[in-house]
Symmetry: C2
Subunit: 377 residues, 2 copies
């Protein structure tokens, strides 16, 4: 449909020609010896696993030993069996070597985002990362900066290297060229923006989720600070869908010091007001949260935080979630939960995803006192 | 959620232990030389592509050459870039080397299904196949028989071998143990059966769709006869979603000869009656087609066939589709179209998929005079 236009095809071809294939040649692992203990067990796992694959797939499902043929080459497996029963997504994720897929839609490259991901203490050899980047000028700049950052990490200390990283370029135009924050948040722009974001998230998810993925961590490219134990902390709750509270650091000019304030208002408990509004809506209208023009009287997790005496383990049940940071068991996605790019119960994107997960029989939870921080532009 | 029960985990572990890892060691390609012309270009592509990968991923996206390191080994790519703009799903699929992913939910193994797939004339090196098999006794038998059939094909003539084959075992119980046709078609069993089938289709789709997949052909395991040019014929129309007419051969005792009759009633044009019925329904009720208890007065493609003077290229626009054979552009799935396991506009599974594709802005078509044949049990 969208690709049959020959001009579009030609433009895409010209654009594609401009991309440089980026393939790193990391030093051999023997050149960077690590010491004994857990580090060497990590290296052992890499050798048993990653090092065995000259070409690592997006989520590294191919870790079975292959027989050696008569000519000394390893044989290709024409048939690969995956027993989805053997997958586990549990509260003991790291101990069980559960595989995490971090998915990030990236419009601009924020160095603090990458620094924070590199500092995550979950074993990096169990982490695959997928990015999707729009095909516009800002996307090209983001790609170049991301490649530089990845190159440093993946050729650095072995224990910091990630299992695999995939970068997708979007095959459709984002509706808004501007990434200016005010422009982006205008209510009339939100529906088109969030439907486009849904398509990007789905392309990324459908393309990178593999048979060995246990958990998917959605992490926006402008999340600049999380606890380094983010993955362990979120998986420890063993919930199908779990969202931390997304705040922002800023300079409070009244108090004359740095302070925090809520940022993401998409995690909420539904209200009868919002449900009545939805009942009156046409099939293509959507409810949006955080806009004065549309008071929903939902209970927002953003306002349930106890910033003075936080209990980071306190969990509450939710009806809608934001996607700035969001931990999902892979089975929830495999059952079909995705990000609707059309009004689904008058909800789109991550809020529609929460509704869909609930329709599939899963619960949705949030952590009001567990904070991740959004960049302050 | 479903996996946290320790007894379930234990049972799954015991069951899993019983499975034998099935890895084939095909003869080297040099041992089976093929003649010149298109066959050698096919072999060239296999060597450039499949042979380069000791471990072929479900949909073989990893066909870039890797640099050779100082130690003589090929370097692993820590970063892989995929430009979704470079994908094409066009009417010239074979000429453009477009990659097809055949997806089959398999409850029982029907030898004629596999024979028919092997006879497809689309270049086999561009075809990957994914199966999902229930974890019950019948599933175990189906798996064993499928493995035997695959082993013969993948160690046979090179041009018949498929690019890669993945087999998934379902991680949930099918609601009905019986695959007896009458039991399966009872109306009260249909909702549970089709919601379970939706989960199976989604698991298969989310897990096997790769960044290089151009088209997805859904093909049920009891489709025993199609034209050998099925893939070329369906892609030639260049529609986002296209369904042929699923018929069945039987012995007509009145005419005393073999005859054909409609089999799949899920491809239809909507009616105002059906829409009124849906408007009266509760949120968890679904419309089903082909049951006398629930007359929908939809226009069924099954009855639009001209069996005496068929025009196999005649296409009509549809609102619902069946999944016995169904060609979908990969971008439709990547945008988020899946098989709802919950009532979606009072539709589930393939009919819900058609509605979702339309909500995403795609058209849905059918070919009333292009026939595929379902097994006659």
């Amino acid at each position: 449909m969208r690709r049959t236009n020959p001009i579009t095809l030609l433009l895409a071809a010209i654009l594609a020609f401009g991309f440089v294939i980026f393939v790193l040649s990391p030093s051999t692992s023997s050149a960077s010896p690590v010491s004994a203990g857990s580090a060497s067990s990590s290296q052992q796992r890499r050798e048993d696993d990653a090092a065995e694959n000259p070409l690592s797939p997006p989520t590294k499902p191919f870790f079975k030993s292959q027989p050696v043929r008569q000519d000394g080459q390893q044989a290709p497996p024409p048939v690969v069996q995956y027993d989805l029963n053997k997958l586990s997504s549990t509260s003991q994720s790291a101990a069980n070597s559960e595989r995490i897929l971090i998915l990030t839609p990236l419009a601009r490259f924020v160095p603090e985002y990458w620094d924070n991901v590199v500092k995550l203490t979950y074993p990096h050899e169990l982490i695959s990362i997928g990015f999707i980047i729009p095909k516009n000028k800002e996307g090209n700049a983001a790609l170049a900066a991301l490649e530089d950052a990845i190159a440093k990490t993946q050729s650095g200390p072995i224990d910091q290297r990630f299992a695999s990283i995939s970068i997708l370029r979007q095959d459709f135009e984002p509706p808004l060229q501007s990434q200016d924050e005010k422009e982006r948040h205008k209510m009339e722009n939100q529906k088109a923006r969030r439907e486009s974001m849904s398509r990007a998230r789905n392309s990324l998810l459908f393309t990178t989720l593999g048979p060995a993925t246990d958990w998917v961590l959605w992490l926006d490219g402008d999340i600049v600070e999380t606890p380094p134990t983010l993955i362990q902390d979120l998986t420890a709750h063993d919930y199908p869908v779990l969202v931390p509270n997304c705040y922002q650091r800023y300079y409070n000019s009244e108090k004359k010091k740095m302070d925090v304030r809520p940022y993401d208002y998409n995690s909420w408990i539904d209200s009868s007001t919002a449900q009545s509004m939805a009942a009156e809506m046409g099939p293509d209208e959507i409810l949006l949260e955080g806009y004065a023009e549309m008071p929903t009287y939902r209970t927002l997790m953003a306002y349930l935080a106890d910033t003075t005496n936080p209990n980071p383990k306190r969990a509450i049940e939710l009806d809608g979630v934001g996607g700035t940071a969001l931990m999902v068991k892979a089975e929830v996605h495999r059952d079909g939960a995705m990000f609707p790019a059309f009004p689904f119960y008058h909800l789109v994107e991550t809020e529609g995803f929460a509704k869909m997960a609930k329709r599939l029989g899963y619960t949705v939870h949030g952590l009001p006192d567990y904070f991740v921080y959004h960049q302050n532009e």
